[in-house]
Amino acid sequence: MEFGLGSGGGGGGGGDESARRVQVRFTTKLGPPLRVPSASLAVPSNLTRMGLSEIVNLLLKNVNDEHKVQPFDFLIVGELVRLPLEDFLLAKGISAEKVLEIEYIKAIAPRKQPNPSLHDDWVSSVDGSNPSYILTGCYDGIARLWKGGAECTHKLAGHTGAITSAVIINGKDDSKHTFHIATGSKDRSLRLWKVLLSTNFDGIDYSEQPVNVRESKILQGHTASVQSVSSDPSGDMICSGSWDGTIKLWEVKNSDADGDSVSIKKRRLISNTANQVESQLEVEGVAVTTFVGHSQSVSSVIWPEHETIYSASWDHSIRQWDVETGKDTWNMASCKMCGKVLNCLDVGGESSALIAAGGSDPVLRVWDPRKPGSLAPVFQFSSHSSWITACKWHRKSWFHLLSASYDGKVMLWDLRTAWPLAIIDSHKDKVLCADWWKDDSIISGGADSKLLVCSGVSI
């Protein structure tokens, strides 16, 4: 079956008779309405992604008249097509003689939220782990909960310095009506918060006036500002990295089921300062353990599994800590890696083992710690133009991760291509934080005091 592009020519020079033709067959993992007949076609070899997309849409239209034109992305041998077909085959050394299997997936076209949620100050941290609420930390020292990403329902005020990091500890479970939230701040303390989510009927009240929430516990111990907070998968513990180079582990206990140590502390506090404590509902906690090893600021901590904590530091190293022993089991010595200050870190990807980190240069690097004897990054993405402040793996996909940078852009990356899948360029100033939300949206906050939600990123 010969196939030539009729009128569109979007692929560029489809009508050229002398152009070489390549036998292709389109396959997909998408559902039946988006499936094309699996016959092989001859297409001009100078087609680009757009041309291929047009062909697929045309084919779908032949099958189903109600089909709406939509862009697709194409995979050849696990690589996303970003060049003209001819050049792509040449670059990858794939023979153009055989019938080419091209898998198509839905292209990502992020939709911007029309009116971003405005904060009073820079948005330093976002957490999108809960599908209905977004938690943001702000430089005015207040953490906020945004319902549906649009309306602020709760204000968590208490910190005396800017909040650097805020996480929902038990956010994975939507059924609970209580949120446990941990925030780290530049005032050298962490605070734990318990937020009771109201039922729907008094939601109207909240939209007009956000509920102020007081902290349930203050965790003191760091001697410099807390840079990053992360909770363990079960939600019983949190760890924090600080500018003083230490990582501290804290226990999270609900105030109604206080542990022994905290209650003792509480009692002592009461005895010490008699009446005042009664009025303040503050409970102080101390660190369970401290991991010492980094020589400079620990900029990012991640607790993906129960036993291991990953940390990235300004001393150019990434360490893996064993929670039980408190020793760093694995240490990517700095200078061989990149020698750059590291700002962010995330673990994910293939079997949740790849480490992505960004720092004081515009390159997002991905390491595979399972690869023996080599500390060279497996992937390097360098489309940013300034420091990278955040990187997050998609929770479900092996290939997708996003990065935020001081250049005001959030980029969506696919491991299968060196070009960004999408660039979200709506921040006016530095982007300080970014996260996935509901698996198909990207949320980001920046120095323009905005929380941006970009939906339509269905992976």
Partner: protein, 759 residues
Amino acid sequence: MGKSRRSSAEVDKLDKKFLKEATANGYIEGTSDKDDRFQSSDSVDLSENEKSQGSPYDSGEDNQDDRFQSTDPVNFSEDEKSQGSPYDSGEDDQDDRFQTSDSVDLLEDEKSQGSPYDSREDDQDASDYENHGTMEESDSSEDEVPSRNTVGDVPLEWYKEEEHIGYDIAGKKIKKQARKDRIESFLAGVDDAKNWRKIYDEYNDEEVELTKEEVKMIHRMLRGKTPHAGVDPYAPYVDWFEWEDKGHPLSNAPEPKRRFIPSKWEQKKVVRYIRAIRKGFIKFDKPKEEPHVYLLWGNDSSVTENKRHGLSYIPPPKSKLAGHEESYNPSAEFIPTQEEINSYQLMFEEDRPKFIPRRFESLRNVPAYENALKETFDRCLDLYLCPRTRKKRINIDPESLKPKLPSQKDLRPYPSTCYLEYIGHTSPVKTISIEISGQWMASGSSDGTVRVWEIETTRCIKVWDVGEPVNHIVWNPLPELPILSISVGYDVLILDTGLGNAENQARVKELLHVEESKLEEDEGNTTPVVRWVRDDKYDGIRLKHCKVVTKIDWHRKGDYFATVVPSGDSRAILIHQLSKKHTQNPFKKLHGLPIAAVFHPTRSIFFISTKNHVRVYDLLKQKLVKKLETGLREVSSIAIHPAGDNVIVGSKEGKMCWFDMDLSSKPYRTLKTHPKDITNVTFHRLYPLFASSSEDCTAYVFHGTVYSDLNQNPLIVPLEILRGHNSSNDRGVLDCKFHPRQPWLFTAGADSVIKLYCH
């Protein structure tokens, strides 16, 4: 007196009287000889004379003469040979033999001499002949027979397996001769009647045939007689000398005096020679006369070496030799077409070819060259009028003149790219300072504000409006004391940034508390150098100076700090102690205008930079240690290497000097980099980096390794020029500081922006 003895021994048949005469003659001759010699050379010493007298060669001629008289011609040849042989004793023996031998023996000798010629083949060489001869002469000694083989006294079994039996005198292998088998040798023995006389010499691997005489000798020896028949063992003893009346040596004359004193005449002669040599009349190394010819058609280059043209002869440039196109009948390709000839007319006269080839039928048709005279004249003019100079061209690869520097890749990391900008000031940022932990930065601007920034996020966390342009701003070097010292006009402000934790904050509060009463007390005594006043507006301390304060530097322990008041005369350099709120003025007399004062990073040493010099003081001993001569017109800034032995000084003429204090008080290296004033120079605390910022809107980053090995000089490599700032009011980058832990450089620009350059 060997001579006389010998002559007497040889002449045996003469009677005593004749002998006496002969000895008398010899004696007389000997003495006369001696006298001659004495006369000729006085300096030769006596013993030598005697020796020469005693040696047999001196009187050899006489001997021969004697022999001619005494012996027959047959023996003569023999004698000659024996004379050539070095053994005197052998000769004597021989003579003895002749004494006693009768005519028969003589005959026998003759025969034996002749016999080798008979028995041997002609191809036997002279050495063999000689061997034989000597063998004959000496009756017993084996030593005289030079054997062919030279292996020496080694068991001959060692050579059993070899193909050779040994080596000849030249070191070549001597091959074994083919061995006859038994039957053959037996047959040979039967055939040859003389076979019984043949003996196999194992050592030389040859058969030796004994002569009749030898056999006879053997027989005699077997019988226990002397080998020679003519030996008379019982010859009567003849005493040749009459010793009875010879009571004295032959000459009893005393040694003459002249033999002991240096010769006057000789001395005079030597003196004359010496004078002649000194005056140059006598020359030893006469130069060889070179022939005055040269190659007329030789290469010109050799002519240059010829000295006949004087000192600097430069050969004239050669005119071009005639080629094919100048031929009267050139090939077709040389002849230009008409269009080409026409095109020549369009060219410049200088570019136009001088000669247009033409073709002629024969040489007869060639006309005279019309330009010949003109061209010769031009050539002569050229040679005469154009001054020729010799260009001295040295073949040096310009690359090799460059110093060997390590590649920039190896010197990483160093700041190279600007990623962050700190925007907020409205006027030129005059000074910046980074907190020791690397989290905060403070900046002072001429808009009268001091700002504190968070480095990581470029967020301005604090603004103080101090009212006047800020001259200098420095953090306290202790991480637990986040205190800023700010020089504003006549005052130095010490402010609490509030960035420490609660514990430190309390300490800071305590430190910054000034008791008013104590101040008044001080005022009562004399007019104090500096007044410590509590500053209520910013909750800090204000130190009131008499004039404008330009520079502040903290001691490493964070208690003392020094301020520079350039126009303060005797109060120019002041050292303050924060904990006691006390001010000292140890440098009352200063030579020149002070520019900057810096504490040594490890020791109690203090650097004061004036316009042209840097003075190094020891604070403990309170004396001048060193004076560094910068050779610069006006110093603008100074920085000390963290190890303390190296100093860099930036100047207003754009030069930077690196001093190695151990090396000299002169700059180790002067880097002329900036076209405009250098505003600040700085070292990195950890990395081997230093930087300079200038009014030309650039900052330079250098690599500067200081080796702990004292023999190795510091390595200085320019790394990077950091651009990016814009000029404002003709001012560029006003300050530069390194991040204390990362290889990052902060630059403060007159465009009111602070930039961070990362690696």
